[in-house]
């Protein structure tokens, strides 16, 4: 969050904060799955469980007034940028108290106050907004940075390359964050991505790096470097985060026959972002189990009260149906 060297104590606090954010996202998403299974949640949700270190490591490197754009798998991005659990649940349940007055739902959460320019359910669709936000920041001389989250699936979309080209030409303060979770829906990314991912960005002269997306400290450290670089006016960057979604493509995808149970088990046990951070801090004797247990208790309580709040909240009034079509 700052550019100065961080004191060890502050550093620990930041790491514990990142742990808390990841734990919150996981607890939130587990609750979403329960709501869906209990037929209390309509529509469709794409769970972020397993990928928490990406959103948290990235957003922790941003200022509150920096921008993000999000995807169909966006709950983690929103929470990591500072969205409230209450209003997130309210939106998912289509309630008026939700971020979008119940008119956006899981795939369209936007939060102006935290610089969240909105989730876009069109794969790759928000690359324009993120790049335009960066253009606006540059034109206004605001020193803000924009981050565009997208999945490996979006690497097939032309818009991404159109906008990366302009961002490089005009040295815009934007970081393209590719969440490579190895699958686009039910197809392994080896079937859809030719050549080298980073080489695509480098071909535009864009600084490109790859990081273990299950290691929040690594994501955060790399992202901080790229964000500060962009803020200094040195141009756009591309960050590939190698990650994995533990659940299906969406809540209804429960069998997951397109991948092996061994593969899933290995990611969950060997590369879990929460365990990785907890084990490291414990081994360094910076924190013990009770610290992490308390965090889990806290976030569970927050999620539980959030879901109760949303369940009790009213639906939008009938006149909302054609409100806000025009500004």
């Amino acid at each position: 969050m700052t550019t100065q060297a961080i004191e060890p104590r502050m550093e620990l606090e930041q790491h514990l904060h990142m742990y808390r954010q990841m734990a919150k996202i996981r607890a939130f998403e587990e609750q979403v799955n329960e709501l869906y299974k209990g037929a209390k949640m309509p529509g469709l949700a794409h769970l972020y469980i397993g990928e928490e270190a990406v959103a948290v490591g990235v957003c922790e490197a941003l200022r509150r007034d920096d921008f993000i754009t999000s995807t169909h798998r966006g709950h983690g991005h929103c929470l990591a940028k500072g969205a409230s659990v209450n209003r997130m649940f309210a939106e998912l349940l289509g309630k008026e108290a939700g971020y979008c007055r119940g008119k956006g739902g899981s795939m369209h959460i936007a939060d102006q106050d935290t610089g969240n320019l909105g989730a876009n359910a069109i794969v790759g669709g928000s690359a324009g907004i993120a790049t335009g936000a960066a253009l606006s920041a540059k034109m206004r001389g605001s020193s803000q940075v924009a981050v565009c989250f997208f999945g490996d699936g979006a690497l097939g979309q032309g818009l991404l390359y159109e906008t990366m080209n302009m961002a490089a030409l005009w040295k815009l303060p934007v970081v393209y964050v590719c969440e490579n979770n190895l699958y686009g829906e039910y197809t392994p990314c080896g079937e859809t991505i030719a050549g080298e991912i980073l080489a695509r960005a480098r071909a535009f002269g864009i600084q490109a790096e790859s990081v273990d997306g299950q290691d929040v400290q690594a994501v955060h450290a790399t992202m901080r470097k790229l964000v500060e670089r962009a803020r200094r006016g040195e141009g756009p960057a591309f960050l590939e985060c190698k990650t994995y979604r533990y659940y299906g493509h969406h809540v209804g995808d429960v069998n997951r026959e397109y991948r092996t149970k061994e593969e899933e088990r290995e990611w969950m046990t060997e590369h879990d972002p929460l365990q990785t951070l907890a084990q490291r801090l414990t081994a360094q004797k910076l924190a013990d189990r009770s610290v992490f247990e308390r965090i889990h208790t806290d976030v569970k309580a927050e999620v539980e009260s959030g879901v109760q709040y949303a369940l009790a909240a009213p639906y939008p009034e009938a006149n909302e149906v054609d409100q806000d079509v025009y500004a």
Partner: protein, 329 residues
């Protein structure tokens, strides 16, 4: 009032709005160094610099998306489509993002964006360069769609579009750029979006038309006057939101309607106009609403076929005569 071309009127509107509001900037292909593929942005780079007159690569989807993001965050971009045919490359950004963002975000974000450029039938440019693109856009809630027929309208409507807080699709015409007309000098001269104009008063039949079709309808009206048929010409100017009141008001007076449109007829503007006239003024009609539309085919290249595809003055004359004879008058 000064007399100037349609192109100059647009240029003046851009220049005045850029002087008035530092948030306004122009972005698109060839808009800067080359002064615009059709010279609408002539001299803007020189006056406002490269920061506010941004030349882009050839990537309609990309620069439209960038315009949307910039519009959400405090700027007022005017995106130029070299021609509106190419806006199809940006259709997703326009329809799924620009048009819906205000609604989907529960009113948190708005997109004060103008997308402008020439569209409609051109002269023997064939199917991909000669089509009426407004049909694709006026169906979309969240968009406003403007088609200015005269130099005065071009200026007044473009200035209103730039000041509007919504995404506005502003489609000019290659074939009208050289057209001359009177244009007010007042830098605050505005024509509100959503206001039709009666271009010629008449009593026997209402003809609704815009852009090139309006000029053909005018020709037809003069011819028909000689036959004793008095034509009232209504130009909607803005297609969404449409000023239904003015059109209905005219129908209540004349009881007969012909809608002329350059694009293909199926599910076109005429269908919508016929529908709301039927809903709101059925009892006032003395004849069914007639439509004179482009043929339901892509635009052919050959001169003779192009003419067959297009609503000509002769076709308008025939349609008006038909509705006027419909009840034997």
């Amino acid at each position: 009032m000064a007399v100037m071309t349609y192109r100059e009127a647009l240029n003046q509107a851009l220049r005045e709005e850029m002087r008035r509001d530092p948030r306004v900037f122009v972005i698109g292909e060839e808009v800067g160094l080359y002064d615009g593929a059709y010279k609408v942005t002539q001299g803007l780079l020189k006056e406002f610099g490269a920061k506010r007159v941004v030349d882009t690569p050839i990537c309609e989807s990309g620069f439209t998306g960038v315009g949307i993001g910039a519009a959400m965050l405090g700027l007022r971009p005017v995106v130029e489509m070299m021609t509106f045919n190419f806006s199809l490359m940006a259709m997703d950004q326009i329809v799924n993002t620009a048009a819906k963002l205000h609604y989907m975000s529960g009113g948190q974000f708005s997109v004060p964006l103008v997308i402008r450029g020439p569209g409609g039938p051109a002269a023997q440019l064939a199917a991909q360069h000669s089509q009426s693109m407004e049909t694709y856009y006026y169906h979309v809630p969240g968009l406003k769609v403007v088609r200015p027929t005269t130099p005065m309208d071009a200026k007044g409507l473009l200035k209103s579009a730039i000041r509007d807080d919504n995404p506005v699709i502003f489609i000019e015409s290659e074939t009208l750029y050289h057209l001359k007309g009177e244009v007010p000098d007042d830098p605050d001269f505005l024509i509100p979006l959503g206001q039709a104009i009666v271009r010629r008063e008449g009593t026997d039949v209402t003809v609704v038309a815009y852009m090139g079709m309006m000029y053909r309808a005018l020709e037809a009206a003069e011819e028909l006057a000689k036959e004793g048929i008095s034509v009232e010409l209504v130009d909607p100017r803005t297609l969404r939101p449409m000023d239904t009141e003015t059109i209905i008001g005219s129908v209540r007076k004349t009881h007969r309607v012909v809608v002329v449109e350059a694009g293909a007829g199926f599910a076109g503007m005429g269908s919508e106009i016929a529908a709301f006239i039927t809903e709101q003024a059925f009892d006032d009609l003395d004849a069914p609403v007639e439509r004179v539309t482009g043929a339901n085919a892509p635009m052919p290249y050959a001169r003779n076929l192009e003419k067959l595809k297009t609503p000509t003055t002769e076709k308008i004359l025939a349609a008006v005569r038909r509705v006027c004879n419909a009840n034997g008058s």
